[in-house]
């Protein structure tokens, strides 16, 4: 079953992916949550997103060795890799939790990255059966 309008929550590092302070971004991507560093994203934040109805979660962080806080992106990557194992044990496709670690200080690539992830979520279908 395809999912035409997947709910994607995106955590985006302000240093790596821009501050998202233009109205375009704010209006276009309501589910983008800017954070000071991807390292501040706790595993409970990601699980809360799924709990509250997300079909997928995307984490945007700085490129390797380029974290403004030195190793924040590394810590989050390890959390994500662990959470993917847990999601798999729950019977959920681990690809519902994605990360892209890259440098895009003006955030221009965000729409394309979100679109690509949403496309993958569409193919996976809804996380929960329609009630």
């Amino acid at each position: 079953m395809k999912n035409d309008s997947p709910k994607l929550i995106c955590f985006s590092c302000k240093f790596g992916w821009g501050y998202l302070d233009t109205n375009i971004y704010k209006n276009q991507f309501k589910d983008v949550i800017p954070v000071t560093c991807s390292g501040t994203i706790d595993a409970t934040h990601i699980m809360d997103a799924f709990k509250n109805g997300a079909d997928g979660v995307l984490v945007l962080g700085c490129a390797d060795k380029a974290c403004h806080f030195q190793t924040g992106n590394d810590q989050t990557r390890k959390r994500i890799l662990m959470l993917r194992n847990v999601l798999q044990a729950f019977g959920i496709d681990p690809l519902r939790l994605q990360f892209v670690f890259n440098g895009d200080p003006e955030g221009k690539q965000i729409p394309a990255v979100i679109e690509k992830t949403k496309q993958e979520l569409k193919n996976l279908g809804p996380l929960r059966p329609a009630s």
Binding site: K78, M82, A89, L124
Partner: protein, 323 residues
């Protein structure tokens, strides 16, 4: 002489270890038995459910309920005892968070029935019978409790006044809880009758924790000769101390076994597994994705470790079987 307060002790999906823990109060139980009138305790004495049903609302001063809720009979008893009781204490990990029976929530009801009544190698069931909640036979209606889709902690089914976690709760905390009720010295409703801080704070090995823990490979406790005076995580052995509430008396740690998390999350945390992952991930000594993945994949059953006692408190698992 004034009537003694009535106390009920009842089990749901439970192993009996919590009853054993109450008996382990030793001589203190004589003081309790003198002070209260036990009106229900199936594991120790003979009482009838009908006599509970005849009671008025609030007749029972305290019900100590242990075990999770998996079927409709347990739900009915939990609701009955809630109705008749002034206070309900969720007693033990199963009642508080679902406990080890809650690990069944990794599977759907259908998966469980398929295995138990069909696919297990010792099962012979050519007609593919499954237990039914209701069957008519020779004009008589036979009933069985309904097996629910999931295991539930008690607070999904009834209102809980106090929580006392543990597998089982230690005698000292049980005694504190019972005497607090008898003496009317209780904290605000909804409180957990155990310290709020994580186990690491009380751990006798806390001082041995190195400045920085760097794990290159996770080991299971049976694969190493664990040192008795060194933090388990510093030895690469998974210990849930950083995310687990203290108050257990550190019994496991003192017998050279790492914490498995039976006291549940610390104050203010719902998802103990996710919180533990947040604590554990930075200890992995790798900044390389491939290597980190290899180290993490080396953990046998990470989800089982994280949610050993608390899986039913994760309510959103959709059982969609994508992978």
């Amino acid at each position: 002489m004034a009537e003694k307060p009535k106390v009920a002790i009842y089990w749901l999906t439970a192993c009996g270890g919590c009853d054993e823990a109450i008996v382990d109060l030793n001589e203190a139980i004589l003081t309790v038995a003198d002070a209260v009138d036990i009106v229900l305790w199936p594991v120790a004495m003979d009482f009838k459910y009908a006599s509970i049903r005849k009671m008025k609302k609030g007749d029972i001063a305290l019900t100590i309920l242990h075990g999770a809720v998996r079927n409709s009979e347990q739900e009915e008893m939990a609701k009955l005892l809630r109705e008749k009781s002034q206070l309900v204490l969720a007693f033990g990990a199963c009642a508080c968070f679902g406990g080890t029976p809650g690990l069944a929530n990794f599977r759907s009801k259908e998966d469980i029935f398929n295995w138990v009544y069909q696919d297990a190698p010792t099962v012979v069931n050519p007609k593919r019978h499954r237990p039914q909640p209701e069957v008519s036979m020779n004009g008589d209606k036979l009933t069985l409790p309904e097996f629910f889709e999931r295991v539930h902690p008690l607070n999904h089914v009834i209102d809980i006044d106090y929580y006392l976690p543990g597998c089982p709760p230690p005698p000292q905390l049980i005694a504190n809880a019972v005497f607090a009720v008898l003496e009317g010295k209780l904290p605000p409703r909804g409180a957990t009758l155990a310290p709020a801080k994580p186990l690491c704070d009380a751990c006798p090995r806390n001082a041995s924790k190195p400045e920085k823990i760097e794990i290159k490979e996770f080991k299971r406790i049976h694969q190493v000769e664990a040192k008795e005076d060194l933090c388990f995580l510093a030895q690469g052995v998974i210990c849930l101390g950083p995310a687990t509430r203290s108050g257990c008396g550190e019994t496991c740690i003192r017998t050279n076994v790492p914490c498995r998390g039976c006291f549940g999350p610390v104050e203010g945390v719902d998802d103990v597994g996710a919180k533990f992952i947040s604590a554990l991930a930075p200890l992995i000594d790798s900044e390389n994705e491939e290597e980190a993945k290899k180290i993490i994949d080396g953990i046998a059953d990470l989800a089982g470790y994280c949610y050993r006692f608390s899986l039913p408190s994760v309510t959103w698992i959709p059982h969609c079987k994508e992978k």
